[in-house]
């Protein structure tokens, strides 16, 4: 029964897994690549601006595409707005319903900026994604104006008045010819004017007959609409009419585009200058118009006005005393700005100028590798700076060493590079001008230094240590371990411990009965017992082998030695009786 249940569970699990796999295969995963979503959004936007129905298809697909949950509500809102925009374009809605849908489109389009921000922030490569976002935002502005135009169209569908212009796009300075057609005879046009949508740009005189009113309105000067102008110099302006029809007031409007140009001015300057030099600026206009403007310098210290100028086609050359206008070392931005005129917009151009420090002309000579007697590195500084300069040479190795001197024409300094036999030292040469004429200058290099004296001393010390410590290794280690840590008292105790340890067999006995028998035998056979630094075997080969003449006795002594070693060091202890027997055998051999 249990077996059947187990098999059933396995089969069920397999079935579920297979179902899940099939599910995985058939359903696309939510899109998480934000850069991709950004690119697709731009694609949809491009199609929408082109008025292509493909954009509607793309928007519909994207609306159905799953994205990660944190993005999904914004994603849906944005693409739903696109679909509604398309439905308005196709005239699917009319009257108040159309205006309600338009409101929803506006709401959706307002969310686009937030959507773009979110996509940008979750993109893998934010820098590249920024270009996509910026481009999409620019296109969004265009779409907004299209929606506004759509609103105008919708608003005029049921209006008793229709407003038309002779063109849709004008250049600055041109006149806009407006015609307001009156469909209802009870209507009377009271005003025709231009507006940015936020502020009225001025009324105009108009002439009416029974069916229409005509007016010619000059495009507004650039300085009035500058804040509404987009990057491409275009501004959307509303041509509005006001009419009273019975008790109702109608305000039909139409959107036109006015193009303003940027002034064509040029600023020429060298890309870099040295501190204290004059900066020559050449400024001119590429058109015949004279434009007032200002020149300033922007840097870490802030923005400093250089002067007010008038830019004309004849080049104006200005020599700027850089010491006067807060130029700072590094990048300085020379900014030329002109104000807006009737037809041209205000405009600024920047020219970066690198303000370099003023350094004395010096030649600093430091060898990259040097064999020295006692580790000194020679530093030679040559030059004729004109002022007395303070030179400081610093060597950074195991220790830091510093020397300084006053440099007039030539200067030779020696700095201790290293006390070690061989080392890599960092040499830093700093030059300062106490008068402040020159900027501080620093030069860094690395030098390989051979210190001969140190090398010889190390060799001598090494050889001496080897000679001194030969055969005294244990005492040396006691010195290192006890002497260095605990001082003289601990060291003497250490030596005492060692001596006791070495003499233990003589003082306290060997601790092995068999070894005692072997020593007893040795006392019989030889005059010399094993020394403190001698093993039993060494003693045997040096002494017993030579002193004892009887081969049988030598064999028995060797046998007893092995038994003694086994008794002292092996886990398998020999029988004491066996040792005694060997000893007795030696005695009997001697007797024989």
């Amino acid at each position: 029964m249990r077996l059947v249940a187990t098999v059933a569970v396995i089969l069920l699990a397999t079935l579920i897994l297979q179902t899940l796999l099939v599910e995985t295969l058939s359903t696309p995963q939510p899109v998480t690549d934000c850069t991709y979503l950004l690119a697709v959004f731009k694609k949809v936007l491009t199609e929408a601006l082109d008025g292509s129905p493909v954009g509607e298809y793309y928007a519909r697909v994207m609306l159905e595409t799953r994205v990660e949950p944190t993005l999904s509500s914004l994603h849906e809102k944005v693409y739903r707005a696109f679909l509604k925009y398309y439905s308005l374009l196709s005239g699917e809605y009319e009257g108040s319903e159309a205006l309600r849908i338009l409101g929803e489109v506006y709401e959706g389009v307002d969310s686009v900026t937030q959507y773009l921000q979110r996509l940008h922030s979750c993109s893998q490569d934010r820098e590249s994604a920024y270009a996509l976002r910026a481009s999409a935002e620019l296109m969004l502005e265009e779409l907004k104006s299209r929606i506004w135009e759509l609103e105008a169209v919708i608003s005029q569908r049921d209006s008793p008045l229709t407003i038309t212009t002779n063109r849709d796009t004008y250049r600055a300075g041109e006149d806009v010819l407006v015609t307001v057609a009156v469909k209802n005879s009870s209507c009377m046009v009271s005003n025709i004017y231009l507006s940015t949508g936020v502020e009225v740009l001025g009324n105009t005189i108009f002439q009416c007959n029974s069916t229409e009113c005509n007016a010619s309105i000059p495009t507004p000067p650039a300085y009035l609409v500058e804040k509404y102008v987009g990057r491409e110099g275009a501004v959307k302006i509303t041509v509005m009419a006001e009419a009273v029809c019975g008790e109702m007031v109608y305000k039909p409007y139409r959107r036109i585009t006015v193009l303003y140009s940027r002034p064509r001015i040029a600023l020429e300057a060298p890309s870099k200058i040295t501190r204290g030099e004059y900066l020559n600026l050449t400024i001119y206009s590429e058109t015949s118009v004279e434009i007032p403007g200002i020149v300033s310098v922007r840097n870490r210290a802030g923005e400093t006005l250089i002067g007010n100028i008038t830019i004309a086609p004849t080049p104006l050359v200005i020599g700027v005393n850089t010491s006067m206008y807060n130029f700072t070392l590094g990048e300085n931005l020379i900014r030329l700005c002109v104000n807006s005129t009737e037809t041209t917009l205000s405009y600024c151009i920047d020219k970066p100028v690198f303000y370099e420090p003023r350094h004395p002309r010096l030649e600093i000579m430091v060898p990259s590798m040097i064999l020295t007697t006692y580790g000194e590195i020679p530093v030679l500084i040559q030059g004729d700076p004109g002022n007395d300069l303070l030179v400081e040479v610093e060597s950074k190795g195991l220790f830091t060493n510093r020397v300084s001197s006053i440099l007039n024409i030539n200067c030779s300094l020696r700095v201790l590079g290293s006390v070690l036999p061989l080392s890599l030292a960092e040499v830093v040469v700093s030059v300062r001008d106490p008068s402040g004429y020159y900027d501080p200058y620093s030069y860094t290099t690395r030098v390989v230094v051979f210190n001969t004296l140190s090398l010889i001393l190390t060799l001598i010390l090494g050889v001496s240590s080897t000679i001194i410590l030969r055969d005294r290794e244990k005492v040396f280690f006691i010195f290192l371990e006890k002497g260095l840590r605990g001082g003289v008292e601990k060291m003497s105790r250490g030596i005492r411990d060692l001596t006791q340890d070495l003499l233990k067999p003589y003082v306290t006995g060997l601790g092995s009965a068999v070894a005692l028998i072997y020593y007893k035998l040795l006392r019989r056979l030889t005059q010399r017992l094993p020394l403190a630094y001698e093993t039993l075997r060494e003693h045997y080969s040096l002494v017993v082998e030579n002193v004892v003449g009887n081969r049988r006795v030598k064999e028995l002594a060797w046998k007893l030695l092995i038994l003694a070693e086994k008794d002292m060091y092996s886990k398998e202890k020999p029988n004491i009786e066996e040792a005694k027997e060997v000893y007795e055998s030696v005695l009997s051999e001697e007797g024989a």
Partner: protein
């Protein structure tokens, strides 16, 4: 004196041989484009659909090209002889569907005189079968969708030597991953990508699908309608010529029938092995 052969040893050898053969036949093989591979890139599903396997492309000469469809899916390059057989097959009116790794596709195109370049793998985060590399594509000639596994984009020469008709496209939401990071990078192409090309070769056609799989297990179930329309009643020949040099794989293929392990073969080989072992044992015993 020679020792008598132990019957236990003989039976052990027999049993070991049987076990080895059974294991070879039964154990699953994870090898792309292999008829017995049940994995994503295997051909087991296609193999079950009354297909003939070719263990040498020379066998193509035995089949009537006009009524046959050759499936060439590869992750290893074809040699000169194999390429000639495939092209001859197409020239005689056969239809060859070729897919596999970019190297294989580029090699086949080069043999046909088309110097193509790999632009990158194609991803479609919107129209896919659960993975942005398993892309839904559209066959413009048959007006049907198909699912292709790991497609890649090719840059074909502007003036090809042969008539090349792009017929299979990915959706407008696909992109070419030129940077190879699996993600969309700003500047990468976003839009429909041709991934299937019909190339006229002699009296026949060659359908080159620039994808790792189109008739492989993972995607075949989505492509039955498309394949049925492409096939148009032709008999299916599956290229397995690369299997032959591998003795184990070849033996495994021989042991297997189209619908599973062939008991006949297994019994036959077992019988021969048994006879051989008994004969050897008796001979040794007689000496």
């Amino acid at each position: 004196m020679r020792r008598e052969p132990s019957p236990i040893l003989a039976y052990s050898v027999l049993l070991g041989l049987l076990t080895a053969l059974s294991l070879i036949a039964v154990l699953p093989t994870n090898l792309d484009y292999y008829v017995l591979d049940t994995g994503d890139h295997g051909y087991s599903t296609l193999y079950h659909e009354s297909s003939l396997t070719l263990y040498s492309l020379k066998e193509l000469e035995k089949h009537q090209a006009e009524s046959a469809l050759l499936v060439v899916g590869r992750d290893r390059l074809l040699d000169k002889g194999e390429l000639d057989y495939v092209i001859n097959f197409s020239e005689k009116g056969g239809l060859a569907i070729v897919f596999g790794t970019p190297e294989v596709i580029l090699q086949v195109l080069k043999t046909l005189g088309l110097d193509a370049e790999l632009e990158g793998y194609v991803y479609d985060p919107v129209f896919n079968a659960g993975d942005s590399r398993i892309v839904v594509a559209w066959d413009t000639r048959l007006n049907t969708t198909l699912v292709i596994d790991t497609p890649f984009a090719l840059r074909l020469p502007s003036t090809p030597a042969l008539a090349v008709h792009p017929i299979v496209y990915t959706s407008n939401f696909s992109f070419i991953d030129e940077h190879g990071d699996g993600l969309y990078t700003v500047g990468e192409y976003l839009g429909e990508v041709p991934v299937g090309f019909e190339i006229e070769v002699g009296r026949g056609f060659m359908l080159i699908v620039s994808a790792k799989g189109v008739l492989t297990n993972r995607v075949l179930e989505f492509n039955r309608d498309w394949f049925s329309a492409v096939r148009a009643g032709r008999s299916i020949l599956i290229d397995q010529s690369w299997v032959r040099p591998n003795l184990l794989l070849y033996m495994k293929s021989l042991l297997h029938g189209q619908h599973g392990i062939s008991p006949f073969y297994l019994a036959f080989i077992t019988l021969i092995a048994t006879v051989a072992i008994i004969y050897v044992a008796r001979t040794v015993y007689a000496e």
